[in-house]
Subunit: 301 residues, 2 copies
Amino acid sequence: MGLPEKVRIVEVGPRDGLQNESGPVISTDIKVELINRLADAGMQYIESASFVSPKWVPQMGDASAVMAGISRREGVVYAALTPNLKGLEGAIAAGVEEVAVFGAASESFSQKNINCSIAESLARFIPVIELAKQHDIRVRGYVSTVLGCPYEGDIDPAQVASVSRELLDMGCYEISLGDTIGVGTPTKARKMLARVANEVPVTKLAAHFHDTYGQALANLYAVMQDGISVIDTSVAGLGGCPYAKGASGNVATEDVVYMLNGLGIKTGVDLDKLVEIGNWITRQIGRNNGSKVGLALGCDQ
Amino acid sequence: MGLPEKVRIVEVGPRDGLQNESGPVISTDIKVELINRLADAGMQYIESASFVSPKWVPQMGDASAVMAGISRREGVVYAALTPNLKGLEGAIAAGVEEVAVFGAASESFSQKNINCSIAESLARFIPVIELAKQHDIRVRGYVSTVLGCPYEGDIDPAQVASVSRELLDMGCYEISLGDTIGVGTPTKARKMLARVANEVPVTKLAAHFHDTYGQALANLYAVMQDGISVIDTSVAGLGGCPYAKGASGNVATEDVVYMLNGLGIKTGVDLDKLVEIGNWITRQIGRNNGSKVGLALGCDQ
């Protein structure tokens, strides 16, 4: 199999990225401007908010206000994370047209991260997905720790395949495979994907690879050779790695788009605008730009 | 072609890395300790110094003292850059057993960087390589700007092939292909390599890819699929990119070794020791650690 002709970028910076920023709570205005600018740069899918309890995730406490504030563009999906029914109800009230739920491939990670077993977490999503269907809201499924777990180490690809299959069977239209701690390397990523693709068609799979160990682009290049054509990224690499101080988390959208441009793979995204956005948002929230492309191209901005 | 079983890492941090550090001149003691520690970590090839005029490169003014100071280990090559006859004479006097010369694949880069044409630069190396042969000193050849030039943009792979072939014919035993400004992406790297491999056996080629745009690991993973098994790296990513402030240059040894370990490719290098060295040297010279693996694994050191 060759490389895909085009790749759909799922921009997770405003949600997965900002949610994991450790600084002060970012204003709704900045979040809204970030989302609007990303849409203006050609991004067609923006994970914009998370409908969770502000007690647990204060950074996402203004989800409804963010969704109300953005200037919706035709053809752009503004999605939100909805871990439970209450979250989905909030998302529906806010006019969200697509949501996401998440499971883990590691039992220990599930217990420590969301305080329940994998089976329990999946069971909780049944009514969420049911209600979403009633409202014609598509549901995307995340699976975390697909290439390693901070508590268990290696994860059996069969376990990733099993959780992915369950989410698909429950009604998720796409499964995003998360290398949550960024420990994967290319062969490992390809082997995991091959196993999962036995259960879920590769056209329904996305790669959500973190760059904690600098491996994300190599891993993405590897799995694109096996049919992956949906990639989750975060502008400026927003979102640190909670397990290592100073280390990075999400792979930077700019770096991925630069590679895809070089590979002749279409994304519809304007790299120059992205670089401007990355430099702008990192100045706004007072953090380093986690994109090498942003640093190399953005020095005059 | 699959991936190689083992890769020879050419550590260029003490020379290519430190030479491009913009801070104050680093003491001979620190350079010597860096080289000794790299050898202790299992590095079998260390580019240790550059015999150039201290007027041009003050950071390398103590090349002879560095070579005299290191504790030589059996089986480790301590190489030096010798751009001219005078440099080679200095290297011979210092007991260097292997040297390197460099040409550019871009005419403009050659003119602006070393103030002469590609042909003139190659002609200068004839007596250097001749004298080296008389002393049983092996000569490695570098070709710069193989995937792009800051002045000319794209570089014709045929031009890279031609310069590589000339260096081989002149007596270089290995040609290191340098993506000097880090603009390459995987397909471009593979196409360039395929063209060069028409002229020079791939077993005599090395990849010297910079990480300025975060592409180095993806590019290395790509060219390893086409037979590259020698990779130039720099511990902690020492050596910035002179064309973009704050941007990175050399790919970090730690990040490459992490990927190779994950791919099951042997290097003989101890990653934990490398991470310690990277954190130590960056503290010594007061710069950020350019290795993501160094940041992720090194936070407790």
